[in-house]
């Protein structure tokens, strides 16, 4: 057996769930009974569809207010960026940086990174596949941390609920932002990093 031979070239398939190797003609995994595929089925198309939807939702998520803070009957809507600026003005720079990274930089870098991965696979770019696989790993790891803003709103709305004295109400951007986080997580999950290695001519 020569060096760097992949399961696919040796006529083998790895089960996505339990990791057992089987011959290519086997339909259901002999260990866990899951359907076997050499690569995630329709990985490129699914990732592209999910990615385009999250690009579309990213716009309302940043334009509309994510929450409205009412103090003594005076309402003040906050967008994601507005909330960060408010934190900077109240001298809480570290927390502001944290929110900036979690709710603006991470979703943006995730969208761009996944687009790059799709472009790489589609145009068969000859790249350093190890680096690109590492980028994919970072993208799938950081995705969950964007939920920070959603959780923060959930805590604020239940705590600051004192009628006319002070109240926080979630805005329409919260739904859009939550959808962006979930869709990009699904997009990263449906992308198959083995496609990067498949398009490299060795």
């Amino acid at each position: 057996m020569k060096r760097n031979s992949t399961a696919l070239t040796q006529g083998l398939v790895r089960c996505h769930d339990c990791g057992k190797l089987d011959k290519t003609h086997v339909v259901l995994c002999t260990r866990c009974g899951n359907p076997l595929h050499a690569r995630l089925p329709y990985s490129f198309q699914r990732t592209l569809a999910l990615l385009l939807s999250s690009f579309a939702l990213y716009i309302p998520a940043n334009l509309f207010p994510i929450m409205t803070v009412t103090k003594l009957n005076v309402g003040e809507p906050h967008t994601i960026l507005g909330g960060i600026i408010a934190l900077i003005h109240s001298d809480m720079l570290p927390i502001a940086m944290l929110v900036l990274v979690a709710s603006i930089l991470v979703p943006l870098l995730k969208l761009l990174g996944l687009s790059l991965l799709l472009l790489c696979v589609h145009f068969r770019w000859q790249v350093n596949a190890k680096r690109w696989t590492q980028m994919y790993r970072v993208i799938s790891f950081v995705g969950r941390w964007s939920m920070l803003d959603i959780f923060m709103i959930s805590i604020l709305v239940s705590l600051v609920n004192l009628g006319s004295v002070a109240q926080v109400i979630a805005g329409s951007a919260a739904t859009a932002f939550g959808a962006v986080v979930v869709l990009t997580m699904f997009a990263a999950k449906s992308f198959d990093p083995r496609l990067i290695w498949d398009v490299q001519n060795e």
Partner: protein, 207 residues
């Protein structure tokens, strides 16, 4: 060539000879450096014990007040569930369901499934649903986000600190303990070993 002597890297499909990694060692894919296997000592027993601990912490963490605030004499307590209920009442049912799933239901389900699976393996009881449970556990793992929720609590408290008086409840202690248990649970979980044991149990049963 026997297929059982080899394994394929899930991220670059390279065939690798099954490792002889022992406890304390890590086995990486030689081509893409993916962490292929990291054997753990007493994985089944530890999973069983930790998921029992988690089970005891679930109710206090979900029902006891986590943070309370006091503004102009009126005070208000918040639990994990009250955020979901308030969001639902405001008509934000999409966000409410997302928070409910990722901070309450999935962590709960993941502890229950760990308990079921490790219990069956520990007492050598075959069950035809074992692979179904382990598969579900692997899929929901990514969606249980207690550590992100804790960060959310911290940011919310920082925002509120200037306008209100905060008091932390017993629920927060239970929540942090639950978070520690789930993190230890995940790091002691050896999925390769679990799949092997499930296969062994189920083939023994057929004989």
């Amino acid at each position: 060539m026997k297929t059982s002597n080899y394994l394929a890297c899930p991220e670059c499909d390279l065939l690798v000879r099954c490792g002889s990694a022992v406890v304390g060692e890590k086995e990486h894919c030689p081509r893409c450096h993916y962490l292929l296997h990291r054997p753990r000592a007493q994985s089944v027993v530890r999973t069983f014990a930790l998921s029992l601990t988690g089970l005891c912490l679930l109710l206090p963490a979900n029902l006891l007040p986590i943070v309370g605030i006091k503004i102009l004499g009126s005070s208000h307590d918040g639990t994990l569930l009250s955020g979901v209920v308030t969001l639902f009442n405001e008509g934000m049912w999409g966000v409410a369901i997302l928070v409910l799933l990722s901070s309450i239901l999935f962590p709960m389900l993941s502890i229950l499934l760990s308990l079921l699976i490790s219990g069956h393996l520990y007492f050598n009881r075959p069950n035809r649903y074992l692979s179904e449970w382990l598969r579900t556990l692997q899929h929901i793992d990514e969606w249980a986000m207690l550590e992100v929720y804790l960060l959310g609590i911290i940011v919310a408290c920082v925002k509120l600190a200037s306008m209100a008086e905060l008091k932390f409840g017993l629920g927060l202690t239970a929540f942090v303990l639950l978070l520690l248990v789930t993190v230890t649970l995940a790091s002691n979980f050896d999925s390769t070993l679990f799949w092997q044991q499930i296969e062994r149990l189920n083939t023994d049963e057929k004989k």
